[in-house]
Amino acid sequence: MTDNVIEGIKLSRRYGGFAALDNVDIAVKQGEIRGLIGPNGAGKSTLIDVLSGRAVTRGGKVLLKGDDISALTPQERRRRGMARSFQRTNIFPDLTVEQQLRVASWAVPGADIAEVMDELRLTEMADVPAAEISYGDQRRLDLALALVGRPTVLLLDEPAAGLTMEESLALARILRDLANRWKVTVLLVEHDMQVVFSICDRITVLHLGRTLSEGTCAEIRVDPTVIAAYLGTEA
């Protein structure tokens, strides 16, 4: 039996003549936080989309705990324990914080929204419509929606986008803590290298739709191909 919780095998996705993903393999182990980095257009968000069912792979396979879920809808993947967030804040602006977390909880049996609100420090604004809370709070709410029901796998597409350095690192700490305590496997797309290096166990680097490199944070920092393609000499 595999100890990979989420696995993508030969994932490919084209947009017209452009190969956004080209035979990408990825496997993330139980409880691991995997960073997914690379320059714009590398295929990071497309990989998250294919794994989550937002986009369809051509020929490849997506495995969740060893089961082939390639043909499942996003709803079915969610019920099997896969949750995701989006690059842009993707919440329900007219619903209050509590209302939307409650809606999220109804789709997952046994979900406890009080613990999610508490962990993400949203309790105080429970009755406030999401459109009226600050951007930083909205990003935490976005993450909270994905965390309702303690998913097995969490796919995060730039959760710290638009946050200040202080907010980004606070979010990273929450994420690291919850991943440890709730045993959530996380695949994280992020441009903020400080966030990535502070919480990721391993990193996969994509470039032009292909896997450029994979390794621990220490290995990636000094990988000359990664430095040349993405990190630059100051990383």
């Binding site: 709803q75 993707n90 619903l95 939307q100 809606v103 999220a104 809370i133 600050s134």
Partner: protein, 333 residues
């Protein structure tokens, strides 16, 4: 006192009214309804108010689609007409018992809307609006041209049976009786919609309206809740059609026409489509403006148009939104 959230924003804590408060308001409204024949001075005034209630129900139907599905319909008159025609034709032809005619007149538009909702709920924006317009006008063209059904563009009169559901059906054409009935139905519909909005399915539908993609990734089918909202909205429109047809003893293609849908939409916007009660208030306001303006100007629709422009520019949340804002300001002082 306004509290501050962690983000430093004033928390406009919007706790919805509790169930007990809702039911208390509804009971009070029903009591007012029962007293209307004594409160409204003349039969003509009662008749006008009863007709305003039919408009209020149709506008509530249109507003409910906007509120729960975030979709604008230009064809809601299709279900209004279908309700009225199903009852009128079945009673006139005596094909089924009058009670069965009423039930069919409720079920048929609801079922048609549910099936249509499974398809058109996937379409957004202008395309959705145009599709609802096309559906409504398709029904209009059928009843307009099909003379054997209900005398085509002439429309058709029909007599109500002596008894329906154990009551004297002809009393439905008494303004006082119809006013009390229509008011009661409107109050119960508004209460039902308020309870629906607080229910699990109502909140899921609101979430889908706000952000369909996120709802899908939370694990929800986004089509069924929307189709259900279409069906409920059609059910309300059908009730309006049945009441109007019963009161007038007459059905005509105008019931299906896009202008009927358009006026219902205007009523919903003027009253405030973001509120369950908004369209009903808008319908009553607009009904009386129409009636008043019609006495002085042949081109009263132009006056209605001007009012719509003013409301859209100055009161984007409608009359109810404005009243609520003024009330909140007043209570803050």
């Amino acid at each position: 006192m306004t509290s501050l959230t962690a983000s430093g924003l004033p928390a406009s804590r919007r706790k919805p009214a509790g169930y007990a408060a809702l039911i208390a308001v509804a009971v009070l409204a029903l009591a007012v309804g029962a007293a209307l024949p004594w409160l409204v001075p003349t039969k003509i005034a009662m008749s006008l108010l009863a007709q305003a209630m039919f408009d209020a129900l149709l506008a509530t139907s249109v507003g409910f689609l906007i509120l729960q599905n975030g979709r604008t319909s230009f064809g809601q008159a299709a279900f209004f007409g279908l309700g009225g025609y199903a009852m009128g034709v079945l009673i006139a032809r005596q094909w089924v018992a009058p009670e069965a005619a009423v039930l069919i007149a409720l079920i048929l538009p609801t079922a048609v809307a549910f099936l249509l909702g499974l398809v058109i709920s996937r379409i957004t924006g202008v395309a959705h609006a145009m599709l609802t317009l096309a559906v409504g006008q398709a029904f209009y063209e059928v009843v307009f041209r099909w003379r054997e059904l209900a005398k085509g563009d002439d429309g058709m009169s029909f007599d109500l049976p002596a008894q329906m559901f154990g009551f004297s059906a002809r009393k439905l054409q008494d303004p006082a009786v119809m006013l009390v009935l229509a008011w009661t139905v409107l109050v119960l519909v508004l209460l039902g919609l308020a309870l629906f909005a607080r229910s699990r399915i109502g909140q899921v539908a609101a979430a889908i309206r706000d952000n369909e993609e996120r709802a899908r990734f939370l694990g929800y089918s986004t089509v069924m809740p929307r189709a259900l909202v279409y069906a409920i909205a059609a059910f309300i429109a059908a009730i309006a059609g049945i009441l109007q047809a019963s009161y007038n003893g007459y059905i005509a293609p105008q019931m299906f026409h896009w202008s009927t849908s358009g006026f219902a939409l205007i009523m919903a916007i003027i009253g405030g489509a973001k509120f369950i009660i908004g369209p009903a208030i808008g319908a009553v306001v607009l009904f009386y403006i129409k009636d008043y303006a019609g006495q002085f100007a042949e081109y009263w629709p132009a006056i209605v148009g001007v009012i719509l422009v003013i409301v859209t520019l100055t009161m984007p949340r409608g009359v109810v939104g404005l009243a609520l804002m003024l009330w909140r300001r007043g209570t803050r002082r």
